[in-house]
Subunit: 246 residues, 2 copies
């Protein structure tokens, strides 16, 4: 299945070495996609699409981080999706965006016009199949996230988020699997709060607490070292290790 993933991959004949959609595509399919492919850049904080707007493209994240957020009239916001490089954004068959898409960091996306993308999808069973699998993955993630939002304590929420980021990082880089797990937090405290359904003060306090208790080591505000991943996963209150441990 890996070869069917809608991914960002090195692509020699592409300005930013990015090939998207389907590594196993037949040549003509790929070329039809290339015709309708284009890149867009955003600065941190910019909104890519507003909830309710027409969204006439699908895309995948090349570099940077985007988030999907829901906002209430009075300004309360909840992040409902976190998109790292190679993640897919878009709603085949849907005209209207159901939530805001926001560039959390500087962001480059690889976009495809939706109409032609959908046509290719309809004619290419394994792309449709792959899209279904990705959507199911997102649904699984959303449901884990619901457990976090509904039932976990602030400390468990923070530990869970750190674990999730560590895991997502590990799946992108060649994972060493030995010793400390090290990564940079790609989110501000405020973005973490929006992810977790907390305030930024609580996020800050709980990170300090985890540091004080030796669960994590911080260098600066963003660089995290996890001496023992099992302890962190235990703090997350989550039996599943997400495949992180053997």
């Amino acid at each position: 299945m890996q070869d069917l993933k809608l991914v960002s991959q090195d692509c020699a004949d592409c300005p930013i070495r990015h090939r998207a959609v389907c590594a196993r595509c037949e040549t003509d399919e790929l070329e039809r996609l290339e015709e309708v492919k284009y890149y867009r850049s955003f600065e941190a904080g910019q909104t890519v699409v507003w909830q309710g707007d027409k969204m006439d493209f699908v895309a995948s994240v090349v570099t940077g981080i985007a988030s999907l957020t829901q906002t209430m009239e009075d300004g309360r916001t909840q992040m409902v999706g976190l998109l790292l490089p190679s993640d897919f954004v878009g709603r085949p068959g849907r005209e209207i965006a159901a939530y805001d898409v926001v560039a959390t960091t500087d962001l480059v996306m690889c976009c495809f016009r939706k109409k032609p993308f959908e046509q290719i999808m309809m004619q290419t069973p394994h792309i449709a199949e792959r899209l279904l699998q990705m959507t199911l993955d997102e649904l699984d993630a959303a449901r884990e996230w619901m457990l976090l939002l509904g039932r976990k304590t602030a400390r468990e929420k923070i530990a869970s988020l750190l674990a999730i980021i560590a895991q997502r990082n590990a799946s992108l880089t060649a994972h060493p699997k030995v010793g400390d797990v090290i990564f940079d937090l790609p989110l501000t405290r405020e973005a973490m709060a929006d992810y977790l359904g907390l305030t930024l003060e609580t996020v800050s306090r709980q990170i300090s607490a985890l540091k004080r208790d030796g669960v994590i080591v911080l260098q600066g505000k963003r660089h995290v070292t996890v001496p023992d991943m099992r302890i962190l996963l235990d703090e997350a209150g989550d039996d599943s290790d997400g495949g992180m441990l053997a």
Copy 2:
């Protein structure tokens, strides 16, 4: 699209007048499905599938209510899906159930063995397409739900749930669209608490408060009358009316 919905529909040649999967199926597809179709009944409280178990069927709810729930080691549980009649359960392409499926009331499901279902799906683009659309619908619902869990107050949560149930009911029955909206709560206070990430005491108190404030009228513990749906939707803190109002 409606004619492609995976639905429970009246079906004269079926013991419980239920035809599932695809109203526009070609005859032979439908018959292939009929061959692998069977019914299962459960009593309220029974678990249909355990998280982590192999799940070798997909199904749709015929009568009753099922819920998908996540549970932590210490017993905290969060509902992550609520399945009313005609809703689909199952994960095409997945071996293992990602969460418990529980019969919240007495329940009848119409099941299909997964393998043949998947084969038919692969060979039938519009079934695959329909499945993708349904999964996207579930994802949208999950993300609304995340906003509820992460950012809404107890009162808003209750109002939102009542609105959701009212809407789902309206879409099943011929919706009068005039005057009071009336329905029966299909969930215990405890199930509502699991849905909303609250305790059952808080659910009870907030329902009492909405009653006291005239937002709803209760006859008994389950029968709800909503004198003015706009007030309820306003209490839910949700700008979207879910298509309930013109």
